[in-house]
Subunit: 609 residues, 2 copies
């Protein structure tokens, strides 16, 4: 049927209900087949097929504006808006992306991928509409899981105050990425139990009209419901109850695992052989190390804002140590700081791309209180992810904050050493972990973290409290893994492996044996070591697994540029990500783009010498 | 009475109710007298006197833990916990600070100053308590205004799920800093109107028990209410109705103006002669320029997350152009991005310290969508503020984000020019404004912003959407204000004035006429100009009004350090804030601490030459 439908989505409007039901079934089959082949967000897309059909039957997209929260559930919407061909090539060359994308279609209004943003963004569209005097419908579609993020609540607060058309569809499948945690979900459950008639209704409290539909996967009833709110002149919440993973029984039974899944056998649910993501090198996971560490440490907890699966082992063994705070990174950091203040050791575990949501809390709620929480950043670094999930900002973000010590292990073994070190400190610490190939460094002996804490200069204060929070003025020790001459290569974290590779290539091509350095620390420089390099080196190469601007290489460069003696002002070559939003570019292409292949590094050194 | 009370707060417990009422009256008089003398948060402190007394009568602080949101209302709490002497010296040497402070007293559990954090922090204390098996009460005290911030909602979501003692006191004075805006306040009003019996109760929805007290300034009734929840074994919200500014009729009538006030005459409410904050130099305000600009620009709006007073002129003339989003910076940015997408030009106006709360939204909701909103950062730079409000992080935060162009006007006249430029661009722009002395630059002719946009290198994509968001690869032009030799001084934003002063001092002391540069752009370098400097200069001095790490000076340094030719690797001296939390240090002392006085700059140049 999809092959024959032209002029989508408008052609949907002339179909009979039974055809719309058939179409829904067909989309569902296509989703299962394609996602089995290439992997993707199974549960969210399967659960929203009927709603997507109904939305495009009732509303007049793109004049009426549909904004999908996170938008990992937008594949049916994409299929229904002329992107069936692109969907057939999903995750391939010329295929559609996994999230809404303004370059792909006029039916997509935002590039999105982080949670809880749809209501605020859509409220902006509605406000512009009102100012410009037009009359289209604005519809935000948000899952129950996304409602736990504060930005969604802030959005409801402004949208509920609009005196004009605004429709929020709460797609309630009783699930976040993992089972919902938080008091909000008791309230939503009560609304479901009472068919929307529960006494306490958060949406009504926030000024919204409200309607409930239990049969959230029934196209006919959805159309009826949406027709009843189309053109409404005030804000309304349509709360629908859907089934995550509907139509794929294996996913229905285990929605947590099937939220996102690698390629699988659609008959059995088993992982298919196509397991290794070709865009990325081998994966060195540190999550097992982290979990083991926490299990060994008495009076420790792990605070997790919405990260899937990490906590299963903890949940099974010490459930009270696993604290799911909802998709709420800001509160995760504040909560952890409070826990640390109360005497229990918290580890906050968040992906690099999501820790961005807690910048102020890291400064205000955490480091300003100097509490000994430890942040573990997952998935940091340049990758083939889409541009809403690439983790390249954590270095400029975290390594410039007062009172926070940020470390970069080069291997799983070093990650363990650094966790042990962090556990003993009485101030804020953070570790940067990446997924990628560290095969060449895994068998290396890793020494302990070495620091000295310097006395800091106190200041005259103007009040009892005036002054400075004693900053950690560290004298840190980097690790010289190979001692050579002329060229020094500093490889940060996962890129230490690249430094090793480049050093081999340099020996081979330039007949120079370079010095190879593991800096260990991102936030602090080993100035003694750096000062010693110009004596027998001409170039320092810094390989940075993230955005160059505001990063580690610029700290090293500024150190050298400040030297009085011109012979100490050694040449610094920084290689890392440019300041640009990168979207789903193959890892090898990115390495070439940023001149990070061993051959390019050799070429650039040859030019520089 | 305060003079005679020893062993506070425990001695309160033996006082009769009539004495507690007298004490409240005395505290109120003291507050008015002291704040009239030195300025401060009048309204919030006057409104919470009785609650503070009742809390310390009922609970056993510091074993029971009281956490005040923002904590700008904590002066009565401080007076009641042995800091009466320090209060008498408020805002003076040896006086207490305006916010709770862990160094001041064991009754203060956190250094705080930003909004909406108390519930999450207190929930952490409660979680540690439960793990460690102790039984004290944990109480978060939060104003209705602070409830509009998403972190408060996220905190309620986790706290409402605790199976143990947790008390939230909602201090509802019907006001934020300015009148509350947002749907939440309709819900709270309905709760007040019905004496807490309204059908829809957001707190009950979120799993809390709930109690309402209309007489929120009645000590006796407050004590009775708090006694009823003390030792409770589950989460409860105590919603009390108080009067902001109570007891000072001038403030009661105009609570917005009297939220915070400079020194005043307590009899008339007029500003006292002690108006100029001695800790800071003269103030050059750009808010009038901003407001005039918006009034002149058709189809523009200003989005304001909780900033006081700014919008009055707009509210009076074009109320629909002034969009108060509550104390919700994240949503402010997302909302503005949506507005821009919808075709109306938004200006987001936020203080430097608060824009930290929107880091992810700036990346994801805004720059990733390349929408032409303009962010105006207020109050940026090194200042004598307390450490929760110093605005020193905005440069590392904003100047390293892809697709955002960040400018620093050196004067009000240049601010106007830059606003005009930003209004014409079709991508994200931001302006950094500071309060401080720009008297020496105000009469300077300011030329137009000059840029060229470079072609950027496209990449092979792996999907239709793969690739890069076209970054603004600018060729920017800085302004050479004085052409000299040997020494070049780059003064960023407000520190351009310092560059002028230093240049005079250098001429006088070193007999060198330096080059003085206004860089105009923080996020992008004028590489052509920088490349030309080493020919006839030996040192580049960068004066940075913010934290050095991750900042502008490090960009300049990295540019020079990367040069192949050693004679091009000119020496760079960066002067700005160290990476430390600075609290209420006099401006002149900070300048000395950071070697930013003209004399110190000359000394350091002499050493470096």
């Amino acid at each position: 049927m999809l092959e024959e439908l032209h002029n989508l989505p408008s052609s949907l409007k002339s179909l009979e209900l039974c055809d719309l039901e058939k179409l829904s079934a067909e989309i569902r089959s296509e989703l299962i087949a394609k996602l089995a082949e290439v992997g993707g967000h199974i549960g969210p897309n399967l659960g929203i097929v009927e709603l997507s059909v109904a939305l495009h039957v009732v509303f007049n997209s793109p004049v009426d504006k549909l904004v999908f929260d996170v938008s990992h559930q937008s594949l049916p919407h994409k299929i229904l808006t002329g992107r069936y061909k692109g969907f057939k090539k999903f995750h391939q060359d010329q295929g559609i992306s996994a999230f809404t994308n303004i370059d792909e279609s006029e039916h997509d209004h935002f590039n999105m991928g982080h949670t809880s943003t749809s209501i605020s963004l859509a409220a902006g569209l509605a406000k512009s509409r009102d100012i410009l005097g037009s009359v289209e419908n604005v519809v935000a579609i948000i899952g129950d899981g996304s409602l736990s993020g504060g930005e969604a609540f802030e959005g409801l607060n402004i949208a509920g105050d609009l005196n004009s058309n605004f429709i929020v569809i709460v797609n309630d499948n009783e699930m976040s990425i993992d089972p919902n945690s938080g008091a909000l979900y008791k309230g939503l459950a009560e609304l479901r139990r009472t068919n929307g008639k529960a006494e306490n209704n958060i949406f009504k409290f926030l000024g919204f009209d409200y309607a409930y539909l239990e049969e959230g996967n029934d196209v006919g009833k959805l159309i009826e419901m949406l027709e009843s709110v189309k053109g409404i002149d005030h804000p309304v919440v349509v709360h629908i109850h859907t089934k995550k993973g509907l139509g794929f029984p294996i996913a229905e039974k285990n929605p947590e695992i099937w939220h996102y899944h690698v390629p699988f056998n659609a008959a059995t649910g088993e992982n298919s052989s196509n397991l290794v993501d070709k865009k990325r090198p081998l994966i060195v996971s540190s999550t097992d190390i982290i979990i083991d560490h926490i299990l060994e440490e008495k009076n420790s907890v792990v605070v997790v804002p919405g990260a899937p699966l990490l906590g299963r082992k903890l949940q099974e063994t010490v459930p009270e140590r696993y604290l799911d705070v909802g998709i709420a990174e800001g509160t995760g950091v504040a909560y952890a700081s409070g826990i640390a203040k109360g005497g229990v050791k918290p580890y906050i575990v968040v992906a690099s791309t999501f820790i961005q949501r807690a910048y102020d809390q890291i400064i205000q709620d955490w480091t300003l209180n100097d509490t000994p929480a430890t942040l573990i950043v997952l998935g940091a670094g340049i990758s083939s992810s889409d541009y809403t999930h690439v983790g390249i900002y954590d270095i400029p973000m975290l390594s410039n904050i007062a009172n926070l010590v940020y470390l970069a292990p080069t291997s799983a073994a070093e990650c363990k050493k650094m966790l042990n070190w962090a556990a003993k400190q009485d101030f804020p610490t953070a570790l940067r972990t990446s997924t990628g190939d560290a095969s060449g460094v895994e068998d290396r002996d890793v020494s302990d973290v070495q620091v000295e804490v310097q006395e800091i200069e106190q200041v005259k204060s103007v009040s009892v409290s005036g002054g400075v929070i004693p900053n950690k003025n560290f004298i840190v020790r980097s690790e010289v893994v190979k001692k050579g001459t002329r060229i020094a290569i500093i490889g940060l974290g996962l890129f230490f492996q690249k430094a090793l590779e480049a050093s081999e290539k340099i020996k081979e091509k330039l007949n120079i044996k370079p010095t190879v350095i593991n800096p260990r620390f991102i936030s602090h420089l080993d100035e003694e070591l750096l000062s010693s390099l110009p004596a027998d080196h001409e170039i320092v190469v810094i390989l940075e697994d993230g955005i160059i601007e505001g990063g580690f290489g610029q700290k090293v460069s500024a150190f050298y540029a400040s030297q009085k003696n011109s012979t100490s002002r050694i040449q610094c070559l920084i290689r890392g990500a440019k300041r640009e939003h990168i979207d789903s570019i193959a890892y090898d292409d990115l390495m070439k783009r940023y001149r990070l292949t061993p051959e390019q590094i050799v070429d650039d050194i040859r030019d520089a010498l």
